[in-house]
Symmetry: C2
Subunit: 407 residues, 2 copies
Amino acid sequence: MNLIEGGVCAAQGFSAAGIHVGVKTHATWKKDVALIVSDVECAAAAVFTKNVVKAAPIHVDKAHLANGRARAIIANSGNANACAPNGEENAEKMCAAAAKAIGCEAGDVLVSSTGVIGQTLNVGVIEAGVPALCGALEHSAAGSDAAAHAIMTTDTEKKEAAVETVIGGKTVRMGGIAKGSGMIHPNMGTMLCFLTTDCAISPAMIKTALLETVNVSFNRISVDGDTSTNDTCCVLANGLAGNAVITEKDGDYAAFLEALQTLCTLLAKKMASDGEGAKHLLTCTVSGASSEQSAETIAKSVISSTLTKAAIFGADANWGRVLCAMGYSGEDFDPEQVEVSFASAAGSVAVCAKGRGLSFDEDLAKKILTEHDVEILVSMGEGDQCCTCWGCDITYDYIKINGDYRT
Amino acid sequence: MNLIEGGVCAAQGFSAAGIHVGVKTHATWKKDVALIVSDVECAAAAVFTKNVVKAAPIHVDKAHLANGRARAIIANSGNANACAPNGEENAEKMCAAAAKAIGCEAGDVLVSSTGVIGQTLNVGVIEAGVPALCGALEHSAAGSDAAAHAIMTTDTEKKEAAVETVIGGKTVRMGGIAKGSGMIHPNMGTMLCFLTTDCAISPAMIKTALLETVNVSFNRISVDGDTSTNDTCCVLANGLAGNAVITEKDGDYAAFLEALQTLCTLLAKKMASDGEGAKHLLTCTVSGASSEQSAETIAKSVISSTLTKAAIFGADANWGRVLCAMGYSGEDFDPEQVEVSFASAAGSVAVCAKGRGLSFDEDLAKKILTEHDVEILVSMGEGDQCCTCWGCDITYDYIKINGDYRT
């Protein structure tokens, strides 16, 4: 498997575009609508937020995915179309406009929105802009780049990745774009992510693969513990790679799953690393656990702890907060067996063994924690299972960004 | 029932003191050990953190409370005696030193610690200081004030309150001191709190009353979602008020419970209001719910939401975040029935009805949210149950305080 360029246009037969149409009224230089189109119909699947309060596009997508097929995705930033008047009607209008421009049924188009909750979506500017958006479609990295920018809100960097592998003797490519910086917490999609692949795979198997993948990638990151109303991760598979259609959990499925998990883990880490105001990507690996589930619960609790996040921001090797967060995770364990180390490109330092503090080089610890990518390594001393989760530090800028988001 | 002065010395027969002995090495002007003593033996009870990682004093207190009796409480700040070498041994030494000075058994003394996790407690300076501490005991408001200051860590204000009521024809007083500013989240004690009363009540009934009270007061506040290793709330009842001993859930018990809940709600609100770096006390009342439990879960989710807390810091009437936090609380409800208002001394403004945004006066909303005490009022439209929870905003100072706590 290789990492390649091209994002959502890396796979054969996909084009994409992103332009400004006017949803973001205060920033005319910012793209705000994206379109991703397959030349041919695709097997399609999606996972959505578990939040009880769901944005309108999610209800529309569920209906449009009932047959497991789709051709295109249209998405806007700047307005979440959640808790807003005429939400589903406006989401349907976005699909209809895209369908008309590319020549398919409205039911073959998926739709997503991200931005402020509770304000009426100005669907008129989107409908008026769709012909230009469609005219801007490109089967190239430039198209994916434009689409990746058009779904950004508080994101400071576009999130894009692609991989190439061989399945059934054929070269298969898959790529994705994502957005997500705040309201990020392990509980289903937790962001917008659009994935494309030229792999031939049945609707049932792509749905299975997507669920298996989301659980070990996007559901293992946290920025702030808030799960959004709009979280959506969807995938389109157009089959143009020409491999034998994957219809069961065989070797081809395993190869597909491995590639999809690699792709989604890359995108998930980009999201955690670009957490609102974040200065550090925080990786917590819990090993020696009695089960993967237990390791995951404990690792998530550590990367979600506001106090641990503040300590990492301050490059303070306050391992007591790591133990504390493990202790309130809900998992039962013997604190007397726990070991904790901090590591980064600057080295590693053991700070706790048998549940007790070790004397350690504070200067080295400070140096380790000053790096951008910081690892917290926890050993439970209970078994041989492990899990890695990703988060970020909490900074003054997180509060600045979120103290006045609407204006 | 009346609010009175005197804190833990308001009730008959209680004295208290707080001095500096040297646990806090960098701040010789800060008191770091507190002692609370009853003239006679008391019925006693405590609730402790549910964190799997428990500080050493908690294990000692559980043993000392096996007989439901105690006479004194000794507590230090500056070191949590959690995950630290010789933890239980050092906690026992604190009890033994206090017992010797006041003339009782070590098993009649309760002990608490708060501060940094993982460092060896300098028990020697405490043992050396106990005679002076004992000599400083006062049966007056000054004694309670000194003890309240001696248990503070990042707290900016002492937390102290007392109430007076009539039970069985006798005047009964009860008071308390508390500390807690960070690591505050609904899950058992969530802080240190020491309560005293001259009410005559059996050990079994005071334990019941304490549990009933903690669940509706301290378990309804959140500062940062982190539950500490040291959380303890304990109560001493010495019976000197002369009322008939409360031994069952009768009218006297109801009067006692009402007073205890009033006292603890006062202290809980002081804690939320003094959350690390907080500029606002945030009160969320959820009404019209199908059950009190459901209302509590939703209210806690709102006051715990980092994004809602950041919006309140910015005086931004971003009600979408309130709905979002309700939605991921884990409770099921119909978003289309939800109403949301913001209120404070400056007025009130309805921002959401039937799950949709209302047009509202942004200037008025800003004015309302600029007050120190801010209320979020949520109506579920489902039933007649309600619950109130308390929290605070998240500020630059929270991160500053916690980015470099150990040094």
